[in-house]
């Protein structure tokens, strides 16, 4: 059983009891906290405590804005400074998860789309497990993961300002530029063959790594839940 998932479920239930304003502010706070160096479980604990504060404030006819104070960013920065910082092991697990799931999804997409293309062009009987891997796929995958991370970081770092036009435009530019770069790589290098692989091996490898990372993550989170809180 993953105790972090349990905690998130519990928090999601309580979330529904919040007023619209409190819910919006709490979401912005939690999104902003993801730009720092706090681990996922600790952020969920903070969410639980802030939910408690917000719900109590609602009973007093007050709101979360008054509880937190006017400067949300300062409050969050203080939380990020005061909280337990991610260990190297936690960072390694997080990055492994991002890489394995990101590469896995892109590989699966490539495999399925290539399969459909071959099926349409040459008939469904000609489908094989041999998949050509192009430079375009390799490079676009290498670009996709950092681009996704940059977009995530941009949203989390500016969560309180994302309704301002300046940030909406910057966000649009960031997404547009990333998408265009990846698309151009696919167009110009999509036919440059890097190698041909039997999809079974990478799929097994990615699935095994994914399961391993999830097991290690769950074990670590449960350890944190039992020892820290």
């Amino acid at each position: 059983m993953n105790l972090e998932k349990e905690l998130r479920k519990e928090n999601n239930k309580k979330d529904k009891l919040l007023t619209k304003e409190n819910d919006r502010l709490l979401t912005d706070i939690i999104v902003y906290l993801h730009s720092g160096n706090l681990c996922e479980y600790d952020i969920e604990i903070i969410r639980k405590e802030l939910l408690g504060m917000a719900l109590e404030a609602q009973v007093r006819n007050d709101d979360l804005r008054n509880v937190v104070g006017e400067n949300y960013k300062t409050f969050c920065d203080e939380l990020m400074k005061s909280g337990r910082q991610k260990t190297k092991y936690e960072k390694a697990l997080e990055w492994s998860y991002i890489l394995v799931s990101g590469i896995g999804i892109l590989f699966l997409y490539e495999f399925i789309s290539a399969g459909i293309l071959v099926g349409i062009k040459t008939g469904w009987n000609n489908l094989t497990l041999e998949m050509p891997v192009s430079w375009g796929f390799a490079l676009s995958t290498a670009c996709c993961v950092p681009a996704a991370f940059m977009i995530f970081y941009f949203i989390s770092r500016n969560s309180f300002d994302m309704n301002l036009w300046k940030y909406k435009i910057l966000f649009g530019c960031l997404v547009g530029f990333s998408f265009a770069a990846i698309l151009l790589i696919r167009i110009f290098m999509g036919k440059m063959l890097l190698c041909t692989v039997n999809v079974i091996y990478p799929l097994i490898l990615i699935a095994a790594l994914y399961v391993l990372v999830k097991i290690l993550e769950t074990r670590h989170t449960n350890y944190l839940a039992q020892t820290h809180k």
Binding site: G52, R60, V67, G69, F75, E78, K81
Partner: protein, 109 residues
Amino acid sequence: MFDKSQLMRGTLEGCILKITSLKATYGYEIMENLRSFGFDEIKEGTIYPLLIRLENKSYITSEFRSSPLGPNRKYYSITSEGVHYLHDFEKYWGRVSISVNKILNWEAM
């Protein structure tokens, strides 16, 4: 303009430890105690990061208890390490406050 945050942080940590040394208490109650002693601008958001920091340093410990006002509340109590820290704080604060007051009341001869 004078930036209160640096001065407040260390001072409030000592005050929070003192409050938690008297009885197990929760964030809102700590804030009300602080306000009743003249820290008028204090909000729960001011003390919550300090509570996290004190807990990470093992000066206080916490547990969730049921609350008549909705979800469970997190109650904080001082640890033996926190008591040592509080004694040091009290001694140092006594000396510093005397010295600072002397300097602030000093008039040129």
